[in-house]
Every structure is written in structure tokens, then in C-alpha cells.
């Protein structure tokens, strides 16, 4: 169902051979049925010949030439997808037709991707479809190369296109304007079951983020109860193989998305986490943290000390809160647990001192 574009971005970034092989292994733990790779990049990075276990999952992207089809054959690719960018009114160019014939001769599993499909009307796409010179096409991928679509338009186009095209559709969105996940989800909701995705939305002009679509499908559409408890870990391992770090606030997989600081949120989360969380951290393998800082309220302070089995009086809580806010502003960051505890100890020790000075 999800068609991976993460490996291809690794190839494009010229990641090392070892790292790319590790990415391939890690992708096995994610629900991606197909992994795309440009056959020329596969060869350039000296990745191994496609063995039987990879044959079913790897799909070679072909830039519409016979030479690349022959290269794919030589490297052992069984599945290919032929990329093309037709011009308005010109149909499928002869070079692409030759590539398709060559692939048919080699009895490959063939898909075709119209990378700039969103530039055309439904009728023009249907016309292009009729122009394809071979019979056995397994998939038509609809590309939104220039990120022209919005979610509503995507759903309308996909509904109409499904009626015109007799083979399974695939949606290949891009993220120049931050709409790739939304457009892909909309396509999925109207019945397009093959969607191009990349971990964290990587790619030239970006892609729909795999982890976002997986969790949107599970949580927003209520489909499938698959185990996602390793999701954050696997995604971060894949990114590190590409010498990238998952942003702390990245939806679904960021380290900080279950850190709560503001008074009103912490007060809520202590009462019931679902008040301010769309799903629980355990579900994606992350942890909840209560952060104490400028935006804290007394509820945060009391919750922290309750965890340490210390009962704070109302007055102690208020005094600490004032100090925490002041310190957070001074140091321009949160107040760590150890520092918070030091603050507490210094209030504790200052109280008897004051008493003793009074009595003397």
C-alpha cells in the first residue's frame, strides 16, 4: 500500500553503500510493500544485484529509455515503473513507448508514472492512457510534481480518474507547500490504495510522511490496529543512516511531542492525558515528559514533586513557581529536574534559618 521513496532520497544524497543497505533492512520493519529506486542510482551506488527476497519489494524507476530498461533487467529488477512528463497535446513520446515495449519483451511487471499529471485535466489523462502502446500495465501513478493540488481537489480528481482508468491508481504527491500528507490521505480516503511516502517526508520537493499517513489511517480513519510501538525508533534509525536527525517536534516521531510545559496543558494531562494528546506516547514508542519552565503553573510543580514522593505546601508551590519562571527566563530554557530540586532544598533550608535569626 505504501510505496517507499526514502531509499531513493538516500541514493540522491549519495549516502554510503553500507548505510543504504541498512536502510533497506530497516524498511523491512515498516509496512512498505514497494521500495522505489532509480535503476541508474542503484548501479551508481553499487548496490547488490536484486536477489529473490528483494525482487518482490524493489521497484526500479526508469527514466523512459530502452537503455535503462536493459540496465534494470541486467541488475535483476522484476518490477519497474516508467517515469514520463508528457507535454500538453503531444501524447506519450516515442522514446517512452520504446522503453515500454522493451520492458514488455523482458516480461517485467510494468507501471507508468505521469509525473506532471496534475497539470492535465481528467480527459487529457484518459487520452494519455489510451496512448500507451502496450496492454499489460499494472499501475498508473498520478504525480503532482509541482505540488499544485490541495486535498479537496485531490479527492475529486481521484474519484473521477478511478472511473476512467482500468488499473490500480497510485498517488505520488509532493510537499513544496506542506500539503503532501493531506493530499495523499485524501486520495487514500477515496479509494487510492497505493501511495508514495517517505520517512519524515524526505525527497526532492518532499513527499507525504510515512509515519503521518500510518497513524492518520490508524487513528483518524480507525483502520487497522497494527503495532506501531517501534515506529519512532525505526524512523530515527533510518534518518540517522541518511545522516539526518528527526526534528524534536516532528509529528508522530519527534522526541518532544509528548513533553508538556504550559500550565493549562500540564494541569489537563495530569488529570487525563487524552485531554491534550491525540494518542498515547507508548503507541509510537515515545515517552511523556512534564517540563518545568516559563509557562508552568502550580499544577506542574506539584505533579513533579508528587512523582518524587514529596508533598509540597501551597505556599512552597507558589514560591517555587515564581523562582522557576524567573530562572527559565534568565537562562532562556526549561528548568531541569536537578535544578528544581536544588531550588526546593534552598527554600527548605532558608525557612529554619529565618526562624533561628528571629529567635536570636
Amino acid at each position: 500500500m505504501w510505496v517507499d521513496q526514502t531509499l531513493q532520497e538516500g541514493l540522491r544524497r549519495s549516502s554510503s553503500r553500507e548505510n543504504l543497505i541498512r536502510v533497506l533492512q530497516l524498511l523491512e520493519s515498516l509496512p512498505v510493500r514497494v521500495i522505489d529506486s532509480k535503476v541508474t542510482d542503484w548501479e551508481k551506488c553499487d548496490l547488490p544485484r536484486i536477489n529473490t527476497s528483494l525482487k518482490k519489494r524493489i521497484r526500479g524507476r526508469i527514466n523512459g529509455t530502452v537503455e535503462e530498461v536493459e540496465l534494470a533487467y541486467k541488475l535483476g529488477f522484476e518490477k519497474i515503473i516508467v517515469d514520463c512528463q508528457p507535454q500538453l497535446g503531444q501524447g506519450i513520446v516515442s522514446q517512452v513507448c520504446s522503453a515500454l515495449f522493451a520492458a514488455q519483451m523482458r516480461q517485467m511487471n510494468i507501471g507508468i508514472c505521469i509525473e506532471n499529471a496534475s497539470q492535465f485535466s481528467i480527459d487529457e489523462i484518459a487520452f494519455l492512457w489510451r496512448d500507451i502502446p502496450i496492454d499489460r500495465i499494472e499501475t498508473l501513478a498520478y504525480g503532482d510534481k509541482d505540488s499544485l493540488l490541495d486535498p479537496l481537489k485531490t479527492s475529486q480528481i481521484m474519484i473521477l480518474l478511478k472511473q476512467k482508468i482500468p488499473v490500480p491508481l497510485e498517488f505520488h504527491g509532493h510537499n513544496a507547500y506542506g500539503l503532501a500528507t493531506a493530499n495523499s490521505l485524501a486520495a487514500y480516503q477515496v479509494g487510492v490504495k497505493h501511495i508514495a511516502t517517505a520517512v519524515a517526508g524526505l525527497g526532492l520537493n518532499g513527499h507525504a510522511a510515512l509515519e503521518e499517513l500510518m497513524m492518520a489511517r490508524k487513528r483518524l480513519l480507525g483502520e487497522g490496529m497494527m503495532d506501531t510501538s517501534q515506529l519512532a525508533l525505526i524512523c530515527s534509525q533510518i534518518l540517522s543512516m541518511l545522516e539526518l536527525t528527526v526534528p524534536k517536534a516532528k509529528a508522530i516521531i519527534g522526541q518532544d511531542i509528548f513533553s508538556h510545559e504550559s500550565g493549562i496543558h500540564v494541569d489537563g494531562v495530569v488529570k487525563n492525558p487524552l485531554l491534550y494528546e491525540a494518542f498515547s506516547p507508548e503507541e509510537v514508542g515515545l515517552v511523556r515528559r512534564l517540563v518545568v519552565g516559563k509557562h508552568s503553573g502550580t499544577a506542574s510543580i506539584h505533579a513533579k514533586f508528587r512523582n518524587w514522593n514529596i508533598h509540597l505546601s501551597q505556599e512552597e508551590g507558589n514560591t517555587l513557581l515564581k523562582q522557576v519562571r524567573k530562572l527559565a527566563v534568565e537562562q532562556k530554557k526549561q528548568v531541569d529536574d536537578l535544578v528544581l530540586f536544588d531550588l526546593y532544598q534552598s527554600i527548605k533550608s532558608s525557612v529554619p534559618q529565618r526562624n533561628s535569626s528571629c529567635s536570636s
Binding site: 513544496a176 506542506g178 500528507t181 515564581k322 519562571r325
Partner: protein, 291 residues
């Protein structure tokens, strides 16, 4: 086609700063507010005065900077929140109440009637100081639509200028937003501002779909910084509204890189290479370099 104009209510300084561990100094806040104003943002949600002296000092600096943008203070429907904001010198107050039964019962441990009454008192109190009030409906996406409209009706009657629809835990999807706003827009007596969170990576899309359905203002933050996975990003909403939807918003897109540097530096944050508009992979030079 008629190109509708929407307005931005930027909350980088309020919800953006609430992203965990983030603190803007008073000077940072002033710099960011000034840059937002220059970019053409018309409403700036500057902060929460009840938080304390440090915040109040920053608020006063922004209020006295002579910006064209209108500066808003965020408040709960509490007397002391409102008094703090008034004493800072604010004349635009945002007053937020939870509107889902889940939040009303489990967080406030009150009733719908109590929330309505409390909001009524708070609006009147703010207005007694001559303030303009906008109302926030927290957790609206998990609440009853009729109750949201009831809040809007009362707020309109009292003279509030708009109502914010908040998807507090980011649980909406674009097609759902479309059908919700198709229903809400004709029935809501006030202009709607949308405030969407990014828990499933859909904040930007949900915002745009609501705008296309008739919402008039978008609540955004620079770089999408905010609670948990953040908010709809200013630069994505404005760019997509102009380029993808072909509509209008009088914010200058040339200012986004500068704004992003300013905010990320002040908040000690980094921009992900693959963040649309402002990420390295999306700025033209680098795209060519990588490709």
C-alpha cells in the same frame, strides 16, 4: 474567480513559545513582533500576561513599539487573567474557554452552563475596560457543533469580534474539515478564525481547507512551532493560500526566511532540511546543489 483575502493571527509569541523548553526574551519578543508587523501580519497574539512580571515587561515593550498590527493578549475566562492583560495596556483580548464536554467535565469539572456564564462575565469585564474581545473555543473539534454555535451566538450578542475554532489535539483531517466548515460557516454569526494543531502533520492542510470553506482568519506560527508537534506554519499557509488556492493574503512571502531565522535563533531551534518553504532542501540554491 473572485480572490478572497484572509488575515493571519500569528501566535508564534504565545502558542509558539509554549513549545516545551522554549523561552523568548523580552527583546526577542519585540524583535519578532516587529518583523511580523513588517511582513504585513495584521494580528499578533503576543503572550499571556498572567504568567508573571517577565511576560508583562515583554508585553509592554511590544505594545509601546507603535506597530501597525493589533496586539492581542491571551486569557482564560478568569478575572485575574483579564485584569493582568488590561493593566499591561492591552486593548485586544482573546478569551479562551474549552467547549468539548470532555474538556469541560474532565479538566474544569464544570458544566456547559457554567462555561457560558463564566464567559459572559469575562467578556463583559473585558469590555468594561473598553477592550475588543475575541473568543476562543478550545477543543472545538472534539465538541458538539451546536454548543460551539451557542457560544458563538452569545459572544456575537455581547459584541465579540470573532470566534476561534481550535483543533486542540490535531485530530481533524482535511475532508472532515471541509464538511464541518460547510455546515458551520453559514450558521456562525461571527467570523471564524481557525487554529489547527499538527499532531498528524495536517495542520496546514486543515487550516487551508477551512479557509477555502469560508473561515476568514488563520492562526499560525513561524515554522509551525508550538505545543507538541506544533501549529500550522505561517509560511506554508500564506504561500499555499496564494499559490495553490490562488487567493489573497497581504503578508509578504519574501520575509519568511528572515522571520524563520529570527524565531529559530531566539528559541534555540533548528529548521529541518525538509520543512517546506524554509528548509534547506526547499530553498532554490540547495535544491540545485543536491540534485
Amino acid at each position: 474567480m473572485y480572490a478572497r483575502t484572509i488575515e493571519i493571527v500569528d501566535t508564534t509569541l504565545r502558542d509558539g513559545e509554549q513549545s516545551p523548553g522554549t523561552v523568548f526574551s523580552a527583546q526577542d519578543k519585540l524583535n519578532i513582533a516587529t518583523a511580523l508587523d513588517r511582513a504585513g501580519v495584521t494580528w499578533i497574539e503576543a503572550g499571556v500576561p498572567i504568567m508573571g512580571e517577565e511576560e508583562q515587561e515583554a508585553m509592554k515593550m511590544i505594545l509601546s513599539a507603535g506597530l501597525k498590527a493589533k496586539i492581542i493578549a491571551w486569557n482564560r475566562a478568569l478575572k485575574n487573567d483579564i485584569l493582568s492583560s488590561v493593566s499591561c495596556g492591552f486593548s485586544h483580548l482573546h478569551i479562551s474557554v474549552p467547549v468539548s464536554d470532555f474538556h469541560i467535565e474532565q479538566k474544569l469539572k464544570k458544566s456547559r452552563e457554567w462555561v457560558l456564564e463564566n464567559l459572559r462575565k469575562s467578556i463583559s469585564l473585558a469590555q468594561s475596560f473598553g477592550c475588543t474581545v475575541s473568543v476562543g473555543a478550545e477543543d472545538a473539534s472534539r465538541g458538539d457543533r451546536e454548543y460551539f454555535l451557542e457560544i458563538a451566538d452569545m459572544a456575537a450578542e455581547l459584541g465579540a469580534v470573532r470566534i476561534r475554532y481550535a483543533d486542540t489535539v490535531g485530530c481533524l483531517n482535511p475532508l472532515a474539515v471541509h464538511s464541518i466548515f460547510q455546515e458551520l460557516i453559514p450558521r456562525c454569526p461571527l467570523p471564524i478564525e481557525v487554529h489547527m494543531h499538527n499532531d498528524f502533520g495536517l495542520a496546514n492542510a486543515n487550516t487551508l481547507v477551512a479557509l477555502a470553506a469560508g473561515a476568514e482568519l488563520a492562526s499560525t506560527t513561524v515554522g509551525g512551532i508550538g505545543e507538541r508537534a506544533g501549529n500550522a506554519a505561517l509560511e506554508e499557509v500564506v504561500t499555499a493560500w496564494q499559490v495553490v488556492y490562488g487567493m489573497k493574503c497581504h503578508v509578504n512571502r519574501n520575509d519568511f526566511l528572515h522571520l524563520s531565522h529570527l524565531v529559530m535563533q531566539a528559541g534555540s531551534k533548528e529548521v529541518f532540511d525538509y520543512k517546506p518553504i524554509i528548509g534547506n532542501a526547499f530553498t532554490a540554491d540547495n535544491t540545485n546543489k543536491i540534485a
